[in-house]
Symmetry: D2
Subunit: 178 residues, 4 copies
């Protein structure tokens, strides 16, 4: 890969992809388990959504590839250390369970359109145990534009992993929050 030194070259639409991380009810809705059980406040996420929607539409206009990720937890695809965090006292998953509406797209966020890949992820990092890297490499992507939720968890772990895989990383900071 060549060395890209300026922002203009880094974000060239020919080799850039937008990642929309986990815009699901589980993270955006005021009725999610995170809100009801843990006092999570979705105010900042809700404020970011209109900006995110504009940015998604702008990327489409510039023919930037748009990738969506969504979190689904299922006991068949969890390591013991994840289970220790993600199961309650009765052994039930308490967030983004595969049979719960929490995993659906949040209604106020743009939806994937035809040709925009949706990668289901089993952990914070969207590269872990998925084909995201393969799909990006297959398209010749060099730069990842990060948006979505939540900042300190799925966004940062995916961005860090992407950086170590060799991608140029751009955080679209007003479209990321927690």
């Amino acid at each position: 890969m060549e060395l890209l030194n300026t922002l203009d070259r880094i974000v060239d639409p020919l080799h850039s992809a937008l990642l929309v991380i986990d815009p699901q009810k589980g993270f955006c809705s005021s009725k999610s388990a995170l809100v009801l059980n843990f006092g999570f406040d979705t105010a900042r996420i809700k404020a970011a959504i209109p900006r995110l929607n504009e940015f998604i539409k702008d990327c489409r206009k510039f023919k930037i590839a748009v990738f969506w990720t969504r979190e689904i937890y299922t006991k068949d695809k969890m390591l013991p250390n994840q289970k220790a965090r993600g199961l309650d006292k009765n052994g039930n998953l308490w967030v983004c369970r595969e049979d719960n509406p929490e995993i659906e797209w949040y209604d106020k966020v743009e939806k994937p359109i035809e040709g925009e890949p949706v990668v289901t992820k089993w952990a914070y990092d969207a590269f872990q145990d998925t084909d995201l890297n393969l799909q990006l490499q297959s398209k010749g992507i060099k730069t990842l534009l990060f948006t979505g939720f939540t900042s300190q968890c799925c966004v940062v772990s995916t961005a860090m992993r992407g950086y170590h895989l060799g991608y140029y990383i751009v955080a679209v900071s007003d479209c990321i929050d927690c």
Copy 2:
């Protein structure tokens, strides 16, 4: 993980999984592209199938977890070096294309039953860009019993990768061929 020193302990059904690698028409049928265009001979594979079917049934009897893999090639999930091998002069995939009956299970092989995971793979190595490792770890699997096709390609590359990931590897040699 503990050190397993004897075959008995290695193949303990409690922590062993059977892998049935790619028992698809593309590798077993006499009408596959490999046969028609490259003179591939399926005689040894066909001879192994009855033994493979017996072994799958035996594993189920002993409650050994059974995992199936199948190869599907699609241009959206191929690296350039794969494309250079897998596309013909017109840019078409010549084997295990997603819209071709080649990707179906070969009719004379046992089929997956409920609860037996099917992992779709995009390359020879079934661990590459899939959630196979996650599913195996999630079940506490330590040992992989290898069966399927073809020996020198998908079986060996998956077995080698599994070994380096820490699994005990057992080649069920009369149920593997090419």
Copy 3:
């Protein structure tokens, strides 16, 4: 691996390792390139060092394995996206260069003693392109106790990666800073 549900079981010295991330002059010294060229403030790091030293000594007392990492940048081991960040206008590395005293241990931090592995890392994430995971697996480690610098970069990216590799992660928060 078994499911560890309580902090007591998670931090069992028999399967825990302390990671001391990058306690080098480049991150702790007031004369580092980060301080001189970028206005980085080492006050919080300096304040954490006495606590870190106590914690290292406590871990040794409890026979917890101690692992050290150190950052060394060299042009032979950098991806293009790292070079775009880590090289100045003249193509020279501006931090933790292999021939610069910045890579030495900071004098006020405890030093590795015999038997404590030192892993040289080429990027933020200490697992990337190193044998850290192999060494930890070889020792049967399940839990990583994180300490060191800097929080938002090398510590978080290594902790996130460790989590996705299956380790139980404990942030020793008063021994981490930036």
Copy 4:
């Protein structure tokens, strides 16, 4: 990465690297543990060495990057499944032990010269838990020319892994044996 369709373009010296896999006493010498304890026959390897030496010199002439790998086994860097294979009844390593002359370069093979990286590997696959991929990426390498020993173990597992990492793979078949 671009799609390289012809052998000429694949082996362009500008982006090709020669890998010389494990030309060590442990695999080439008639006095190795493999020969003395397991009846391993080194005749074919010995016959390949003059061809290998010529090929190394040719690569240097064409400015192809030359990388060397060497196997070293040490109990601190072995997974349980490796230990189960690599330790004898007394718990001692029986091949390529770090304190044994077996790990030295075999005298009749060319030696690394200045600027040719030597990657120490802990398992068959030279990419596993090493910085080989990082060094190759750092140099912009796209194609790997494989030579060395032994075919069915370290060469094939490294070649398979390299293929799945995206490299174009060329087996220099008369310089590979077992």
